[in-house]
Symmetry: C2
């Protein structure tokens, strides 16, 4: 378990600061993450990676010459926000375009895609290659749905080496895709990790048993078997990965890089015992082992787990894999010609945001908005454990902590805005940005967008009446639906917000007062959230986790309904 922290809420930020203090030879901290502190003789394509914290050396430990140019650093197991990715990519950009690369998780895809759109709007050529090496996370014919685990290192290293070698953005994208296509991984776990400040591990595996197909965020495995011998585990790894050899590769004579990765507390000597058999089995299969790696390349705090990754080389990939690099956590050969760089981009410290003019009515409404956000944060403090528990049934268990952090950050930002006499739009804009930055993950992104959408509808001038609220909620609903691309019945937050917005619209249209209409709408949201327990989980989840989630409501729908009732209470008090 994680024991050493100050305020658990500050864990990721404290860790990032310590990392930057220790790693000034390689990196410099900017808003949202780190970029290289050195620059080579010629500008290159910038490879920007990132993801949640808790996977060191993924992601920030892989920034430096010959590897990545920058890493967006999200909160614990939570995607960095689009704002953070955009900030890091802007600082890392050297004028030759940006390759975004990261593990294929819904939250990361949402935020990095938003960031890519913003970069393109700013005229920066930007491509994306997501890493999908985990063979247990989706079948071979849906490999684009697979998660990224330790194969991250391979794709980042190949892309970084290509950039270093002067490849243009097309070329860097091409070899990153090639590296991903030729990389396969499988992981197992014996215990989950315990996040800072949490009382329990994200999942547990019975003593003497082993979960097969683990995810690096505490997603439980798909199968569970007795703990095998080291040789038995090597057999499982190698036979599973040899059954999925990339197209066009013939094992006999193929050159392959094995990467045996400890997730946290499966330690080096133990890894080497397993590696001994992996090496032998690959040789027996006729493959030629090249430059193996045994160590910790993508961790999950102190999870007791281990994964094997195989990279099937061709000549180009072999050259790129062997090229020199120099980063805090991964070094190879000699990298020359570096000088300290003055790097453009946002400074680490957030700028004070500008507060424009606002009407007295809009300021008065902002006060109520601030009170509502504060009440939401208080309620989510209390409910975080229960929301986490619900989320653990089918997800990675971070919904509670993400909502807790995001709402607290939003409430703090709103209080600051209100104190500076901001109107409703400005208050909600900054609250939404704060929620997305600090809450992270899909829920952070969606709630951030929802607050911003609501603010845009309310403006900084108009009084906030029932009609304005109704229009704002409709905008929130639209924002969620276009953002997440989910539909009603997919067992997401949408299953609560749609009936909420529809009922509110209907009751206001029928002439009800705001409080009365909101009460009915909140009740509808609660009923709908409860009803999500009867829905089969979304296809991907159902496949990964069997039918475990049936009977458990969707945590995002539940938290939406709880928030609707919290806001109702504030509206009643203000009345």
């Amino acid at each position: 378990m994680t024991r050493l922290f100050n305020d658990p809420d500050d864990f990721a930020a404290d860790s990032a600061a310590g990392f930057a203090a220790a790693s000034g030879r390689w990196v410099r901290q900017v808003t949202g993450g780190v970029v290289r502190s050195t620059r080579g003789p010629e500008p290159t394509v910038a490879v920007v990676i990132g993801g949640g914290s808790g996977h060191y050396p993924a992601f920030a430990g892989l920034v430096g010459p010959g590897l990545a140019h920058g890493a967006a650093m999200g909160n614990l197991f939570a995607s960095p926000s689009a704002h953070q990715v955009h900030s890091v990519a802007t600082a890392a950009h050297e004028g030759r375009g940006v390759l975004l690369s990261y593990g294929n998780y819904a939250g990361d895809v949402l935020h990095f895609t938003q960031a890519q759109e913003r970069l393109r709007e700013a005229g920066i050529d930007c491509r994306t290659v997501t890493v999908t090496d985990d063979i247990y996370s989706a079948p071979a014919d849906e490999s684009e749905k697979r998660r990224g685990i330790a194969g991250d290192l391979v794709v980042f290293k190949v892309a970084g080496a290509a950039a270093e070698a002067g490849y243009d953005l097309d070329g860097v994208e091409r070899v990153a895709i090639l590296a991903n296509e030729r990389t396969r991984s499988l992981g197992v776990a014996f215990t989950g990790c315990t996040l800072p400040g949490a009382d329990e591990p994200l999942f547990t595996v019975p003593e003497g048993r082993m979960a097969v197909g683990l995810g690096i965020h505490g997603e439980p495995g798909i199968d569970e078997v007795d703990v095998p011998s080291a040789d038995g585990l090597a057999e499982l790894f190698v036979s599973s990965l040899l059954a999925e050899i990339p197209e066009g590769v013939d094992v006999a004579g193929a050159r392959v890089v094995p990467i045996l990765n400890g997730l946290g507390s499966v330690k080096y000597e133990e890894l080497y015992v397993v590696y001994d058999a992996v090496h032998r089995l690959l040789g027996e299969a006729g493959a030629v082992v090249v430059s193996p790696e045994v160590g910790e390349f993508c961790t999950s705090f102190d999870m007791a787990g281990v994964s094997l990754t195989l990279l099937w080389l061709d000549d180009e990939l072999e050259d790129l894999w062997h090229a020199p690099c120099d980063t805090p956590a991964y070094r190879r050969g000699a990298v020359d010609g570096r000088v300290a760089a003055e790097i453009a981009g946002e400074d680490l410290h957030e700028d004070e945001f500008a507060v424009g003019d606002a009407s007295d009515e809009s300021r008065a409404a902002a006060v109520t908005i601030g009170r509502a956000l504060d009440a939401m944060a208080g309620m989510l403090d209390e409910q975080a454990d229960e929301l986490g528990r619900i989320d653990r049934v089918a997800g990675d268990g971070d919904h509670g902590i993400g909502m807790q952090r995001g709402s607290r950050a939003a409430a703090t930002a709103a209080a600051d805005a209100v104190q500076r006499s901001a109107g409703s739009r400005t208050t909600l804009q900054h609250a939404g940005d704060a929620w997305a930055d600090k809450g992270g993950g899909t829920s952070g992104a969606i709630w951030g967008e929802m607050l911003v959408a609501l603010g845009a509808a309310l403006g900084d001038d108009a009084a906030v009446d029932a009609e304005a609220v109704g229009a704002g909620v409709a905008r929130m609903k639209d924002a969620v639906m276009s953002f997440g691309k989910a539909k009603p019945g997919d067992k997401t937050m949408i299953d609560a917000i749609v009936p909420f917005a529809d009922r509110l619209h209907e009751r206001l249209g029928a002439g009800a007062g705001l409080i009365e209409a909101w009460r009915d709408a909140a009740d509808a949201a609660t009923a709908a959230a409860e009803a999500t327990a009867q829905l089969t989980a979304k296809l991907g989840r159902a496949r990964s986790h069997g039918d475990k989630s049936i009977g458990t409501p969707d945590p995002g729908a539940v938290s939406f309904a709880l928030i609707a009732h919290t806001v109702l209470r504030i509206l009643e008090e203000e009345d």
Copy 2:
């Protein structure tokens, strides 16, 4: 806990094989450990390090250009034997002398010192610098008694860089001593590790508490406090280490390298949270932080622990610290001009030992010796847990497992010798070597020497009668006393073997038969072993562990008495 292994007894050997398979770019396996697989343009002094397994990257992970030339790899938490150290040093030697460097533990000192004597006898100039960085393991005025923990890296790196720079043996020894004098560490632990095949961790710390002054073999801490915040731990580390600044160093303006070391399952993000405060506190004290390291440099399997090491630089040390190196686990800058090396020295596989002529009587006695060793191994299998428990009161808990492994290896070697018609001397010689190699630690060294001494007394020709046994036991006693330099009353095995040998001598001199005399002697050994519970532990132990060992017998004395009774049973059966 350690979960992945095949036969737990083979864990260290399997791990070493896997390490060598994964690390052929840097190392080649030889008997007793690894040496570099490459050679530079000019011969240099050879820096040979080593210790027990379970501390990766210490020790084998630090072999390569710019760092160590070879590493002797003992069994789990057990010193390599003199034979192993000698083998590695011989293979690593490039004609300019050998520096032996290792953490200051009794077993390592015994074996490395023996190896040094053998190397000097062979005409190889050899020096030793033990690492003594752990400030909690003895007071400042007895710093030569301190243990070595993560400061190992500093001393090895500086010595290796000096060798690489062409320093002669005097020079390499000088800077290694200087580096050790300017290096201080302090560690804390939250849980101990669980060795492969063991049911329980080597020690436990109550939930919410932290042991201060841990050792890396599961030696419990000296103080126990509530788990502090990350800032609080940094405060403890920095204030304790600043209270012990090396002579001649003024903190204001001093250049210092902090090394924050995770022992196994305190992971990277957590380390960086602590580092953030360490960095700030060192700066506030006026020191200039240079090239910090945060990671895992000296582990203890999956122990939840962390240590801080400070290296106070002078100009020479700073150059050597920053010099390039390239090893499996620690790399810096560019190392050039390497070619694959053909390295002299013993091959990895043990040579079949030669079996010379022997009389029929001596061969018959060898059969009995083989039976006795087999019975000892069986008994020690059963008693290993209990001996480990006793040893944990004041020691590192490895006595049971060391005796178990060593006796099993000795029994196997003896069976092989007997099967090849060896006499008593040859059988005991090979059994003793096997015990020292596989059992490791102080007990392995002493039992190895005892068997060899007994064999030398018995010879391969004479019949083994009561008189010969009496003479042999007297030689065993002498070997133990000269080897370990302990005296009766020091609470060691000597407290059992001395009364045993004396009683045997007395009863045989009075005309008793061998079995009768042995029975009395074994009873005397048992009584004496039990009486060790009343002795205050040796000074060093007493200081480190308070009076915890009072009331518990010495495990070495207990195992000696148990063995004496096991041999008695075989003598009775053979009668």
